[in-house]
């Protein structure tokens, strides 16, 4: 049976460019200019899918972005993309499309059994059942529900395509290129303003593309040509404005899928533009509404405007006869154009009176008109075969298709993205923008003002106003073609269908929401629009209710006995249409997800067998190949090297800050808890900073280079925070301090030379420097020239060994590092990595990231004594809050494993020996290492009451691995309590 066919002439398709897609494994012929939807209809594929819940046979409803039914899986393998509206897919060679949500096929779908059970599946049914027999029963039912739900099937393979993101700026953004948009863009363009015109369709023209009037076409072409000739205008097709965000940020997405772009050549599949527009003209048009009647979802029942698009634009039409049902005049455009193409047309008009002009024009085309009538029912299981009218003329008509003309809904989505709710306009019988900010303008059908000459006039005005608002005063208006007329768009509202028909009457096609579901929601009290939507899932599909929202709202208003505006409207949220995730993420994915930060020594580490570990954004050398291949053991060798000989570690990741000015010392004295005012030049001091709340923010060291210049280091993790904090205090709170700060983190590389042989190594590397205890005592610092480069030596130690840090401008880092290794080769010096660094400090009892976690006070970390009693410092007041001083707080302890055959793990929970092992315990282990000095596992931890319990035996529990171990609480300074090594 043929229901739809390709006409032999007409349309905008390029008949000299035939293309072939693959549809469900078979060739699907079409032409360039076709959409997948028009090609399917041209090939008489009317039943093209099954509905979501009931698996009813479905066909195309629309010709544009609002299509609810015609969803297909496009592409295959890693390029498989589910749920794409066929109306938005351009026919190309190589296009692959598959039907979805039907098994084995849409024509014969076994899931259609659901249709028989449909009385059970009314709205909200799942809230009322699947609860028994036991508490967890839902977990039994859920997999079946989940399998039945969902639309298409996604691939789980990584997307091979590229997506670009770009920033752009313009004076006037015009959204939509229908008559109003073309006029607006051209008027604005003529003013000299930078104009961007965004059109989601594959060509400019909007509704004009679906017409067949030669004069209008000429007007369209001349507008487009002039726009393209203007250097200040960028006009984009296939570009959807997906959302408007604060600050006039418009997000545009251009789809280049039809070009089958090659990511290896840097060709993007989509380009997302973040466009900052000074002004915005919305000319987004309107979408036709279906009518609600029995079996209005039969394949072949579609919007009247869609029938018109298919016949005029794609030269595809119902085979012989179509019925058009309408409540307004606009349907006659479709009726006349279809009749002109030789299709027999019957119009059922809800209105009892039809204008004489329409009657005579329709009569001239042989169109039968039944006033005061509507559709009672539609017959035909897999396609329309017959329509029964109701009302004044209860006749039955054999036909191939039905066009529904229920009036128009202005596309107000973008106007409400900024938070202004749409308002109901009785004349337009739809929601129109509730208002605009000063820089936004609307024109044409989206304002509820329909008709060609009105749209063009309004577009021209809006373009001029927008340009003027952006500072471009002079322009020339755009005039409508001479014979443009304005058709009335007034509808006869009739939201409920005739009584008595037995079939389902759908409000939302995609989500299978019927008029009965709306009734049930009303009965049960789900009456606010949001309740209605959420309870019935109405408007929640991929089409986001573009065709269904108003009908549903109107029905609810009718049931409640209130007006449509009283019933409310729903909030439109971005994106306007389904927005590809890859396009949003752009190039910032995979290895580009976040920038990698590399030490100036990174390339050396790579060449010399380092294994890296992620620490924030940094890649840090974790351990080196010379020490082995396992993170479990390599660090132990590296620790031994430092404890017994000398090692070299990269500490360039530390935050480094230059602090200069006459008040620099006072500034440091305020931000550190301990005193810095009297730090002598040439000396370094360990310091701790608190946040305003009295909790430890960071620790580090600061050296005094000259009277008015200091060199601060921070932890790697907090470097950025500390820098911003210092800037904040100086710029916003303490303007009386004359201090300048600058980040040196990237300027200076740092390397630690640590171990009993450190002095020997340093002396070998820098023979001219005095590294003796006198020349460079513990916590001393000095700059020395070396080979014409300034090298900063700081004698300080994180490991507890005799140690120096050697800092140098980062450009020279690798060269100097290699020099030290070579010059001091006789000491056996080798590199050691982050794991050893972090373990050596545990033996020494230095706190680090896992202890500095924004939860601990100075006293918790055993650093309370550092704070100056008399001096003021940030965080001092709140440091002394009641609980912060409690002796029962969890505070820093050292821990030794008492059972040599066991392993100690970070994250263990600590209990007293007599405690029951449950609850939160008395603390936990923060950091663990094997101690090469003590030959056992040791740890740092926080324990209730802290070192009051020194010497006690306690228990570490790690129930995740069913482990428990006995520990002893000891001083966190496991080695060299007197500091003999440091001062050696």
């Amino acid at each position: 049976m043929t229901s739809f066919r390709r006409l032999s002439t007409g349309g905008r398709i390029a008949r000299n460019q035939p293309v072939t897609a693959r549809f469900d494994g078979k060739p699907l012929p079409g032409f360039t200019g076709d959409t997948l939807a028009s090609a399917l209809l041209a090939n008489n594929k009317v039943l093209i899918g099954r509905s979501f819940k009931y698996h009813r046979p479905r066909g195309l409803v629309a010709a544009g972005i609002e299509e609810p039914n015609g969803l297909f899986t496009i592409g295959e393998g890693a390029r498989n993309e589910p749920n794409v509206a066929a109306t938005m897919v351009e026919m190309t060679d190589g296009l692959v499309a598959k039907t979805q949500n039907a098994w084995p096929s849409p024509n014969f779908d076994l899931m259609a059994v659901n249709s028989l059970l449909s009385p059970l599946f009314q709205s909200g049914f799942y809230y009322k059942t699947f609860m028994g027999p036991s508490k967890g029963s839902w977990m039994f039912y859920e997999p079946f529900i989940r399998k039945a739900a969902g639309l298409g099937k996604a691939t789980d393979l990584p997307d091979p395509d590229r997506y670009d993101m770009r920033f752009a700026f313009c004076d006037v953004l015009v959204i939509g290129s229908g008559p109003a948009g073309l006029a607006a863009a051209l008027t604005a363009g003529r003013s000299g303003a930078r104009v961007v015109l965004a059109e989601q369709d594959s060509d400019f023209g909007g509704s004009l593309l679906s017409g067949n009037d030669a004069e209008q076409e000429a007007w369209r072409v001349s507008c487009v040509e002039e726009l393209q000739s203007l250097p200040n205008v960028d006009a984009f097709t296939r570009t959807t404005v997906q959302g408007l965000y604060d600050g006039n940020l418009a997000v545009l997405v251009e789809n280049r899928s039809r070009l089958h772009p090659d990511p290896a050549k840097g060709q993007p599949r989509m380009v997302l533009t973040q466009l900052r527009a000074k002004t915005i003209v919305m000319a987004t048009g309107a979408i036709e509404r279906p009518l609600v009647f029995s079996n209005n979802d039969r394949p072949g029942v579609m919007l009247a405007s869609a029938l018109r698009s298919y016949v005029n634009r794609f030269a595809v039409a119902p085979d012989k006869r179509a019925v058009i049902v309408t409540n307004n005049d606009t349907a006659y455009d479709a009726a006349l154009d279809l009749a002109a193409a030789g299709i027999a047309i019957t119009v059922a008009d809800h209105r009892t009176a039809v204008s004489a002009d329409l009657l005579s024009r329709a009569g001239a085309r042989g169109i039968a008109i039944f006033p005061g009538s509507g559709i009672f029912d539609v017959e035909g299981s897999k396609g329309v075969t017959r329509v029964k009218l109701g009302g004044a003329h209860a006749v039955t008509i054999e036909c191939d298709a039905v066009g529904m003309a229920g009036g128009w809904s202005p596309v107000v989505h973008l106007s409400s993205h900024g938070g202004i709710k749409p308002k109901y306009d009785e004349t337009a019988a739809g929601f129109v923008p509730g208002g605009f900010p000063a820089s936004h303008f609307g024109a044409g059908a989206m304002m509820g003002r329909y008709g060609l000459s009105a749209a063009i006039a309004e577009g021209s005005n809006a373009g001029a106003s927008a340009a003027s608002h952006a500072g471009f005063g002079k322009t020339r208006p755009v005039y409508a073609p001479e014979h443009a007329t304005d058709r009335s768009y007034a509808i006869l509202p009739s939201w409920s269908p005739p009584q008595g028909a037995k079939g389902k009457a759908f409000v939302d096609f995609q989500n299978d929401v019927t008029i009965k579901d709306v009734k049930i929601a009303h009965q049960e009290g789900y009456r606010s629009v949001e309740h209605l939507k959420r309870y019935t899932t109405l408007g929640m599909g991929t089409d986001q209710g573009k065709t269904s929202n108003i009908n549903a709202l109107a029905l609810m208003a009718e049931y409640r006995g209130i007006t449509i505006p009283e019933a409310g409207t729903t909030t439109f949220r971005p994106p306007y249409a389904p927005l590809t995730m890859g396009a949003i993420a752009g190039r910032t994915v995979g290895s580009h997800f976040r920038p990698v930060r590399r030490s100036p020594l990174h390339d050396w580490h790579v060449k010399n067998g380092a294994t890296f570990i992620d620490a924030g954004l940094w890649k840090r050398a974790w351990y080196y190949a010379w020490a082995g291949n396992s993170p479990e053991t390599a660090y132990v060798k590296e620790m031994e090297l430092v404890r017994r000989g000398v090692g070299l570690a990269d500490v360039s990741t530390l935050g480094k800050i230059d602090i200069q000015g006459p008040d620099a010392a006072e500034f440091l004295n305020r931000v550190y808890v301990n005193g810095f005012a009297k730090l002598p030049v040439g000396k370094v001091r360990y310091g701790v900073m608190l946040n305003d709340d009295g909790i430890v923010l960071d620790d580090g060291t600061t050296a005094r280079i000259t009277d008015n210049q200091f060199y601060m280091t921070t932890t790697t993790a907090q470097a950025g925070e500390v820098m911003s904090w210092l800037e904040y205090l100086l710029q916003m709170q303490w303007p009386e301090l004359n201090v300048q700060v600058a980040s040196l983190t990237d300027e200076w590389a740092g390397m630690a030379v640590s171990g009993p042989k450190a002095r020997e190594a340093l002396q070998l590397a820098f023979p001219d420097a005095d590294a003796s205890n006198e020349g460079l005592p513990y916590m001393g610092c000095k700059d020395i020239p070396f080979d014409g480069v300034t090298v900063r030596l700081l004698r300080m130690s994180f490991s507890g060994e005799l140690a120096y840090e050697v800092h140098v401008a980062a450009d020279y880092a690798i060269s100097l590092w290699e020099h030290i290794l070579k010059a001091a080769a006789s000491t056996g010096i080798k590199p050691y990595g982050l794991e050893a660094l972090a373990s050596l400090r545990i033996e020494k009892g230095h706190v680090a990231g896992l202890e500095l976690d924004h939860r601990n006070t100075l006293d918790d970390l055993g650093l309370g004594k550092m704070a100056g009693k008399e001096k003021d410092y940030v965080g001092k007041a709140l440091r002394f809050r009641e609980d912060c001083q409690s002796p029962e707080r969890w505070s820093l302890v050292g821990l030794e494993l008492m059972e040599p055959d066991k392993k100690l793990r970070g994250g263990s929970i600590l209990f007293a020996a007599t405690d029951e092992i449950k609850g939160h315990g008395r603390g936990y282990i923060t950091s663990v290492t094997w101690s090469t000095e003590l030959n056992k596992f040791i740890a740092l931890g926080l324990y209730k009451g802290g070192l009051k319990h020194e010497g006690e035996e306690i228990i570490a529990a790690f129930p995740l691995k069913n482990e428990q171990a006995r520990l002893k609480i000891v001083s966190p300074h496991f080695i060299d309590k007197e500091g003999a090594r440091l001062n050696a």
Partner: protein, 419 residues
């Protein structure tokens, strides 16, 4: 007309299409006086009313809602439930909540689709694994399920993550709570409303509280857009607008209002079985029963009452999604929306008495309001009924910052906008 929901009732209605279902909850005119008035008809307020009636026999209760019930955050979240908390004041409360979730559909006779599909939190380095271990050990020691997974085990469960050498942060392992999962969020509000209504609670929609009747330090009612309503006790549960409503009662709170965005893709056939969270940046995702992937990230980072987010945050979240699960790149986002949530300096909530007698506060939920709903209602009802904080919420007091007793579950420091 079946009041009780069951498969049988559904069948009876199916056979007799003209038999109407009863209203899920009644909409009475407000009385002039109630024993307890709850301000806020969201999940927490409705749950509080339900438990006041059910647990404490206090049925002369009104829930007053400015808009329609469930119009706030209970319908604007990513529907996750879990009890993986390790700070003393939090663990028992959230586990109590999860236990209540487990029986909720039965308790309410309303299928809230409590789906315990397990949450997997992915670690990106060994240090994070130690932090997760502390969390998991604490959970186990408090009778809560938790499992550590190594990278191999994670890969078996989630083969579609980015396991390639291109991954910016390779996955190192994970912690899993099998009992965690998702709940159909709207059903929670409706289910509590229906059950509370059945016990006699008045649910009053489209009624805005404009003031509190406070004399001599005691609250005895509320002024509303529909007149004064007297009350023996008044509870506030208006997350997102807590500061505003508290100000009407003369309070200034440690709360800022921030927007948290959430996202959903088009529906697809089942592909993601668990709730997945990532340790690289805050990101969490699950697949709804309808088939959409529901996901979210951090708050936008500055206080706002506009329910629309900034695009750079949307990008950040999309980058997380695609980088963690590269197949998502080809799926399409259908909607994104924003909820206004109370952020507190330590990321933890308040359920407590206030300086005003007979006035009680429930708010400051930060990211965790939804999963807390049942326990919040349970303990808030207790707090109101007994004029004394329930033992599970002892630490959710307003004075904890004064005392230095912050509950900073994630160790993020005292910034509302970083919590």
């Amino acid at each position: 007309m079946s009041k009780h929901y069951s498969a049988l009732a559904l069948a009876r209605h199916a056979l007799d299409p003209d038999m109407p279902w009863p209203k899920a909850w009644e909409s009475p005119e407000p009385k002039s006086s109630y024993d307890v008035v709850i301000v806020g008809g969201g999940g927490h307020g409705l749950a509080t009313a339900y438990y006041l009636a059910k647990n404490h026999g206090i049925t002369n209760v009104a829930v007053i809602e400015k808009s329609y019930i469930g119009s706030g955050n209970v319908g604007r979240n990513t529907t996750l439930i879990r009890s993986n908390y390790m700070i003393g004041g939090n663990t028992a409360f959230f586990e109590h909540s999860l236990k209540l979730w487990e029986g909720l559909s039965h308790d309410l006779n309303f299928n809230c689709m409590v789906s315990q599909r397990g949450q997997i939190v992915l670690a990106v380095n060994p240090v994070q694994m130690d932090v997760f271990a502390r969390r998991g050990n604490t959970m186990r020691l408090n009778g809560i399920d938790a499992e550590l997974l190594d990278a191999g085990e994670v890969r078996k469960l989630l083969p579609y993550l980015d396991w390639s050498k291109d991954a910016r942060w390779p996955i190192y392992g994970a912690i899993m709570q099998p009992r965690a999962g998702t709940v159909r969020h709207d059903a929670v509000a409706w289910g509590y409303a229906r059950a509370a209504s059945a016990l006699g609670v008045h649910i009053i929609e489209n009624c805005e509280v404009t003031g509190f009747v406070i004399e001599n330090g005691k609250c005895s009612g509320v002024e509303t857009s529909r007149g004064r309503i007297n009350a023996g006790r008044v509870g506030i549960a208006v997350a997102g607008h807590t500061s505003h409503v508290a100000r009407l009662a003369g309070m200034k709170l440690p709360v800022e209002s921030h927007i948290l965005q959430a996202f959903v893709t088009e529906p697809i056939k089942p592909i993601v079985d668990n709730v997945i969270s990532w340790g690289a940046e805050l990101f969490y995702l699950s697949q709804s029963d309808k088939g959409g992937l529901v996901f979210g990230g951090h708050i936008d980072g500055f206080n706002t009452y506009t329910q629309r987010g900034q695009f750079n945050r949307i990008q950040t979240v999309a980058e997380c999604a695609v980088s963690l699960m590269p197949f998502i790149s080809r799926l399409r986002m259908l909607r994104h929306w924003g909820g206004i949530q109370d952020m507190t300096p330590d990321g933890s909530p308040f359920i407590c008495k206030t300086p005003t007698r007979d006035l009680y506060l429930n708010g400051g939920w930060c990211y965790q309001g939804f999963k807390a709903t049942p326990a919040s209602g349970w303990t808030f009802a207790h707090t109101i009924a007994h004029d004394q904080e329930h033992e599970l919420v002892r630490d959710f007091a307003l004075d904890r910052f004064e005392k230095g007793r912050e509950l900073d579950e994630f160790g993020l420091g005292n910034w509302t906008y970083k919590q």
